[in-house]
Amino acid sequence: MSTNTIVSLPDQETARIPKKNFLTKENGLLSWLLTRDHKRIAILYLITTTFFFIIGGAAAALIRLELLTPTGDMVSSDTYNKLFSIHGIIMVFFFLVPIAPGVLGNFLIPLMIGAKDVALPRINLLSWYLFVIGGCFELYMMIFGGVDTGWTFTTPLSTHYVNSHVIGAAMGIFIAGFSSILTGINFIVTIHKMRAPGMTWFRLPLFIWSYYATSIIFVLATPVIAISMVLIMLERVIGIGLFDPTKGGDPLLFQHLFWFYSHPAVYVMILPGMGIISEVISNFSRKRVFGYTAVAFSSVAIAVFSFFVWAHHMFIMGISTYSALLFSLFSMLVAIPSAIKVFNWSATLYKGSITFDTPMLYAFGFIGLFTIGGCTGVMLATLGMDIHVTETYFIVAHFHYVMVGGMVSAFMAGLHFWWPKMTGRMYPESLGRLAAVILFIGFNLTFFPQFILGYLGMPRRYHFYPPEFQALNVLSTSGASILAIGYLLPALYLIWSLRHGAIAGNNPWQATGLEWQTQSPPLTENFTEIPIMDHEAYDYAWLERQSRDNRREEAPSAE
């Protein structure tokens, strides 16, 4: 291997994927559907969330195609509205929220803390089923006509004025919410109670810290959206009046409840990414993360502060100016821990020994895009500015920068990073790098013009738009097609690599986490014996010592 990578693969001639591993343990569909193995559940999540991503992505593709021309000549307004509603609902509740905890969290948390499984394996399977049932409601809703409320379900529009399948959509979200709750409970309990001997809190990988923070949000915020979805359904079915201005209800109350969940939920969508990035940056610069404690605590700080800022989505919606002030101030504060993280990651590179493997490229992409998205988030949190840009494409650009540029990039980084662990095989490195670059370019081309559009005043959720905005929209659409290639490429080569990838060995990245100390793919019970953690996280010196020991052990037997 050239010097610009740290991959160290076993000798491909002799290497074999271990016969006994969690994938080969049992066979047959049923063994998957009834599994309690966290790793298999992770794979189940990977398949289902990818499925939903394709649906959401297809909706996005249609949205972008439609916006090529200002006159809305491809689909009707109703269809357009259904497209972006479905896009938002699927992407948020059925793709981005479950993906990181469901796939990487499930797979890695027990491995990283040296446990045999998550604390409540049955509950874990149950949460996957709840997720699937919720997803079925959404599919049902889409097949029988869709929903056109936007993902925010603004009352009284969603309760009294539209006549699409709001109840089906709300029911799906309600059920999927319980899936999130159970996953959150599971992770918190696992992290508290299942750590291997010697694995103290400050020896945990930062990945674990950020998933812990995510789980706090899951547990405490999700029930509030559950109740607000119940209220929406009841309001539609029997007209309880809580959100109905003609009965004296306040439609804004719904938004309070909705955003009490949905703001923290946006951090559910970024915190896991931050955890992944910490791992990746550390590994590919061969350095302990700069300021471990600060990064660890900033995850928790983000989770805690995220609960105090929800009304920044309602600045001009009729909340009192005084509370707008309060919420704006808190939004400024919640941005600080993110800033700390970004700077600490950058500082981690200092005096490192950096290589640019695919995960690292994604990680760099993440930092840049997340910083842009985050800084525009701060602009939105600034009261005066929000008046002008709220409900415009500026918002759309902001959140795609953090969600797609941020979290999806981070997920791709994670997926590539742990792919050898999950499957035992490497993906093709050069294609990987290519895809990362395509994704970065396509992404910026898609969403940067939207900032300009937004400041020009183009409202979001617009099917028709004034012709002078067309040029920028065409740019954006062309970017989206590049973006689509950027997603299709990894999908293809990752599937290819399942068969033909190079055999990875236990620790192709020479990473320090416990998950790399076991075989790839791991055994069903993860470790042959429960490991003992006797060093700090990211202790590359320990790793070197260990591999030297290993080599010495091997050497005599070879002679």
């Binding site: 509205n81 600045f315 002030l325 600490n344 409900e391 590359y540």
Partner: protein, 363 residues
């Protein structure tokens, strides 16, 4: 370049010649908003540049080829404190600056002229005090503060004029206000920015800013002949409001002359300013706030008056600045026979005054 298909060629030409990157600044608040934007973009760019520069330079300096062995560094409290405190300071500056602008946009000056806006799926209905009605268009004079009082008849809408950098939600069941002072005559976009159902994207219109002379001309050409207040007066009579609010000593309801803008004492001892929102509440939910000295006998008119009707009534009440006006109203309306002309209006004036001041202190 004509060897490229002219059909395709026309698109880039069209786009390049009509390719705005920055919205026009057509109100007094716009430059202030843009200044804030530039400040924030600058700060963000500096932040971004620092981060990107760090990453790039470290990537070059410490890539594996050049720097094969990493040096472990724990962290540095001093550095970390720096990059906590500096952004915090910058963010706080943004917060204060933004808050100042927010208050400016939502606090109309006292002399602003008021225009009512009613949003409904999917159109904007605009009511000028002079009785000019517009749909999906708004004419305003340049150089004059204009206050919009918005309400929605059904769902949330949002009244957005990007060129003015102002935007305000029209909420069902509640008035909201926003104001602006247009500076440059011209025609600007008006959007509904809050998603409101199927034809949300067609709930658009034009804001026409005119020079004061043109505006005056427009006003006189498009008046329907009946001002909003006169409309209200008619309603006031036909809904028999005047049965109770008639400025007589035996009137069952308080005198409404000069009530707008005054401070009222309620029966529970609270005081409240009679603004548009209060007047609206008094008509639709009269029992919510009972004026001191009166019985809660006023019936609710919820469901009986349209939002435009309420606006007309409010405009009428706002313009009631003397008992004389009320009595004028009385003369033009058919009162129930038993109260008709029992007491000559003139004789009642002092008593009515006393009555009227009950529970009311002029601000």
């Amino acid at each position: 370049m004509n060897h490229i298909s002219p059909v395709i060629w026309q698109f880039p030409v069209k786009w390049m010649t009509n390719f705005p990157l920055f919205p026009p600044e057509a109100s007094t608040i716009a430059p202030q908003m843009d200044a804030l934007l530039f400040f924030m973009v600058l700060v963000s760019l500096i932040g971004l540049t620092v981060v990107v520069l760090l990453i790039i330079s470290f990537s070059i300096l410490y890539n594996k080829k050049r720097h094969p062995v990493a040096e472990q560094i724990e962290g540095s409290i001093l550095l970390e404190a720096t990059w906590t405190i500096i952004p915090l300071g910058l963010f706080l500056v943004m917060f204060v600056w933004g808050a100042v602008i927010y208050f400016r946009v939502f606090t109309p000056p006292a002399n602003a002229m008021n225009i009512y806006v009613v949003g409904k799926q999917w159109m904007w209905k605009i009511e000028h005090p002079g009785g000019q009605h517009e749909i999906n268009a708004l004419h305003v004079p340049a150089g004059r503060a204009v206050q919009l009082t918005l309400i929605s008849q059904d769902v949330f809408h949002s009244f957005s004029i990007p060129a003015f950098r102002v935007k305000r939600e029209a909420i069902p069941g509640r008035y909201t206000t926003v104001w602006f002072e247009a500076t440059t005559p011209g025609t600007y976009h008006l959007f509904c920015t809050q998603y409101c159902g199927t034809n949300h994207s067609q709930m658009i219109g034009d804001v026409v800013v005119q020079t004061p002379e043109d505006y005056r001309k427009w006003l006189s050409n498009s008046t329907s002949g009946v001002s909003l207040a006169q409309d209200g007066e008619r309603l006031f009579a036909s809904l028999s409001c005047s049965a109770c609010h008639n400025a007589r000593p035996n009137a069952r309801g308080p005198n409404l002359a000069n009530v707008y803008g005054s401070r009222l004492t309620l029966s529970n001892g609270q005081t409240i300013t009679a603004d548009e929102a209060y007047l609206r509440q008094s008509i639709l939910n009269p029992s919510q706030h009972i004026t001191q000295g009166y019985a809660p006998i006023m019936p609710t008119y919820q469901g009986q008056i349209s939002e435009e009707g309420v606006i007309a009534l409010i405009e009428f009440i706002k313009n009631l600045n003397s008992d004389y006006r009320i009595q004028q109203t009385l003369n033009t309306t058919d009162l129930p026979p038993e109260s008709e002309g029992k007491t000559p209006p003139a004789a009642q004036a002092p008593a009515a005054k006393a009555h009227a001041t009950q529970g009311r202190v002029k601000k």
